[in-house]
């Protein structure tokens, strides 16, 4: 090993020398309250920086700094009524009648090219989000709004089809207002490839600076932002495809923040890093193994295995969910009693679930006719082995681990499981088109259960996000009642009953709901992480002038 270490030392020596030499050319740099460079590591880059055509988290993290909503959800994450919402583009609002919502735009609001933000922009935005050609992923969330009109240049008016508790939430939460004067010329078929999507112009606290594909993306504070100049001057995302490496970069001080730490080992490392502060927050994520009840997405053809409720129940009982959770997450996640995020107030540990009972699972499988007739350890029936494939995205190291662990647990009860480890976009495509047996899916749902559960688990989601194609009328009825309930206790009781109906039917095995932990450099103050959108409040964070580092002061 003589040769390599020799050359390494030489190279280190040479680079140190070079650095020392160039270190002498020093520029004064930024001083005062409005300096600071904040480097976030992300494990993937955005697809496109145009809010209506992407629901990728990585894209939303960036675009939420560039584009504003009319109003934003409060830290309470309360989605019912409008009391807890914070004004953003709209300085105030009122209800003309129970179905008519009138916003008053902040007259100071302006686009980064100098044009004012007008009611026409809001109407245009609604038109785009609901356009069938653009086909925004948020389109179904806006189906309760019948029209958006303009009363005058600062007063957009929303009309609803019906009254329900989360009307206001639906009106403001899904849409980021877009500059009509810049986007009107873009043909509706070409929104995804529009040049605007790689160099957007918005109205938010930050404006776009540069995007180096696969490497980094930089935003700069808009010093004329009408709600107050952001303290952090440069906002930079660095793309590191591997989360464990990303976390190590933060720990090594090469980056300032990461919103999730992933495996428990990383949390321990981050805790030991003196320059980091950890911020726990309730996660908005839950993960499950979904059984596809259809064949190839065709709901008229039940899946040869999973069409049978008893088989699903047997498989569900074969899985040690607590053991898996401890193995993968230690205490960073809970086993949910249904399709529930930790963030939701309807979480009820008393919900009835199927037990972990391999003996019963084996009995049930045998009773269903699945026996190991050839002694290879795999059950079979009519010459067909009991086997299926689990689809899992390679982008998620933790779900990959779940897949391997599940594979072994199913093998122990005599089921032969193969894994399809595919790239994230291929995973999405196959899950959406129903071309899978079982899939390890994770949902990063909205702050509110009603719209999320409806989309993913009821009849309304067929052809949409109900990837497992499970429909149960009793469940659908209970969800509808729960969403319409005005009292929290009442709603919580209804939700619990709904999930008990679901657990009985076992369309999925609910594996984890995460309790997240963000790591942020200690010099950053006023850090508040909002569970549904980590960096939403970043414009209020600051780095005190006496704690600025050389990196903070550096000019671009």
């Amino acid at each position: 090993m003589r040769a390599p270490s020799w050359s390494v030392r030489r190279l280190v020596g040479a680079s140190v020398l070079l650095l020392a030499l160039v270190g002498c050319e020093r520029r004064p740099g930024c001083t005062g309250d409005y300096c600071g460079a904040f480097l976030i590591v992300a494990t993937a880059q955005p697809d496109v920086l145009l809010p209506p055509v992407t629901d990728l988290q990585y894209a939303r993290d960036v675009t939420d700094q560039i584009f504003l909503k009319l109003a934003d959800i409060g830290l309470s994450e309360n989605t019912i009524g409008d009391e807890d919402f914070q004004p953003l583009l709209a300085e105030r609002w009122e209800w003309d009648d129970p179905l008519t919502l009138v916003f008053h735009l902040d007259p100071r609001a302006h686009w980064q090219d100098g044009q004012p933000v007008t009611a026409a922009d809001v109407a245009f935005t609604f038109d785009i989000y609901t356009d069938s050609t653009v086909n925004s992923p948020f389109r179904s969330n806006l189906r309760t709004i019948s029209a958006v009109t303009t009363r005058d240049s600062l007063t957009p008016v929303f009309r609803f089809h019906a009254r329900y508790p989360e009307m206001f939430y639906d009106a403001v939460y899904h849409m980021r207002i877009l500059p009509a004067h810049l986007l009107r010329p873009v043909p509706r078929t070409q929104w995804r490839s529009a040049a605007f999507g790689r160099a957007p112009v918005g109205d938010g606290p930050y404006r776009f600076v540069s995007w180096k594909a696969g490497e980094s993306l930089e935003l700069a504070a808009d010093s004329a932002f009408f709600l107050g100049r952001p303290h952090i001057r440069r906002l930079i995302w660095r793309f590191t495809p591997n989360l464990d490496v990303a976390v190590k970069q933060v720990i090594a001080g090469d980056a300032d923040a990461v919103e999730v730490l992933g495996q428990p080992g990383n949390v321990k490392l981050a805790r030991a890093a003196p320059q980091l502060t950890l911020y726990p927050y309730p996660g908005a994520l839950y993960g499950f193994l979904g059984f596809n009840l259809s064949t190839g997405g065709d709901t008229t053809k039940p899946h040869p295995l999973f069409g049978d409720r008893r088989l699903r129940r047997a498989l569900a009982m074969a899985v040690d969910r607590e053991g898996l959770r401890k193995s993968v997450w230690e205490d960073l996640a809970h086993v949910p009693p249904g399709p529930l995020a930790r963030l939701w107030w309807i979480w009820d540990p008393e919900t009835r679930e199927l037990p972990y009972d391999t003996a019963q699972a084996r009995r049930m499988l045998t009773w269903l006719g699945w026996r190991d007739s050839n002694g290879d350890g795999i059950r079979d029936k009519d010459g067909q082995p009991l086997g299926f494939r689990i689809l899992v995205p390679t982008s998620s190291a933790l779900r990959l681990r779940y897949a391997r662990l599940l594979q072994e647990q199913f093998r122990l009860v005599g089921a032969d499981v193969q894994l399809d480890e595919v790239e994230f976009s291929v995973f999405n495509e196959r899950v959406q088109s129903g071309r899978f047996d079982a899939a390890l899916i994770s949902r990063n749902p909205d702050p509110t259960p009603s719209s999320s559960v409806t989309q993913v688990w009821t009849h309304a989601g067929i052809g949409g996000s109900n990837y497992v194609r499970w429909v149960n009328p009793a469940f659908d009825r209970l969800v509808e009642q729960a969403g319409a309930a005005t009292k929290r206790d009442e709603a919580k009781r209804l939700w619990r009953r709904a999930f008990e109906v679901m657990n009985d039917d076992a369309p999925a095995i609910f594996l984890f709901s995460t309790d997240n932990m963000a790591a942020v450099h200690r010099r950053v103050q006023g850090v508040v992480i909002r569970p549904d959108s980590y960096w939403a409040l970043l414009r209020t964070w600051r780095i005190p002038a006496d704690q600025l580092t050389d990196r903070d002061r550096a000019e671009r």
Binding site: M1, R2, A3, P4, S7, V8, L11, S15, L18, L19, V22, G23, E25, A37, L39, D47, V48, D55, S132, T133, N135, P137, T189, R192, S193, G197, R198, S210, K212, A213, G214, E215, S216, E218, I236, R238, F239, T240, P241, V245, K248, Q249, A252, D254, G297, V422, E423, S425, V426, E429, R430, Q432, S433, G434, G463, G464, S465, R551, A554, R556
Partner: protein
Amino acid sequence: MTAWLVRRLAAAIAIVLAVVTITFFLIHLAPGSPCGESERQLSPEVCRRLRAQFGYDRPLAVQYVKYLWALSHGDLGESFALHRPVADALADAIPNTLTLAGAALLIDFVLGLALGVYQAVRARRFGDVVLGNVGLLFNSMPTFWLGLILLLVFSYWRRWFPLGGMSDPVLCPTLSTLRCVADRAWHLTLPALTLGLVGAAGTARYQRAAMLEVMAQDYVRTARAKGLRERRVVLVHALRNALLPFITLFGLAFPFLLTGAVLVETVFAWSGMGRLSVTAIFQRDYPVVTASALVASGMVVLGNLLADVLYAVADPRIRVRSEVT
């Protein structure tokens, strides 16, 4: 010479064309399309237009002709996944790969040459045996695994080098100052070393053999007999003639660096052609896959061609031989 060159060039172009053709049919015959039957984000309407735009609903032969026609105009199409022209994506990635390959080749040849000469001089003695075995070891390990170990030792345990990436996005978003060039070099060191060390191990073996062969020849003995200093004999007389096979190595190293780079770029999060093409393959981003095959095979063929030309210039006997076969 000119006729020979033209023939070689034509052959090179034909080879690249053949590779592109094979790639084109390979991916189009594969199951699964970017616009699945019932994809949620893209309505059937949009998908239909997309297909029409990219020509994916036409017969394969028509698509192929269309593709070649566009290719002859320098149009590589538009990436599905990146939402931008393929040419732009390539323009971002190719310089990065060339930087890495260039640095790696430099380490490969300089280190390989030095070790080869040293080993030849000390042939069969302790230093030669040890270096020979160490070289064999480096030549025998998976390149990406060596990368992982270097990363573990020099980035996790000793924080001498960055944990992957190409630059410090805060201090050096662009290569504007000398300091940023140094920053780039700092990020480049480990990946280049990984590729370079493995390459150097092979180069040293070749070089050692070539040196031994030359040093056994008469004119070297003559030079020694004339009383020239050993250092001069080795470095001037022997080395100069032992450099000839080196040219072949240069051509051979090209594809090695490219394929090695696919994995090493992944290990070090280096945004070059390797990562671009791997991601494109995983995402079924057909236009990018075909274009990367074009670039990759182009570089291989170019490397070989360059080696042939250099060889022909250096040693006319070779040209004659290659004309015979």
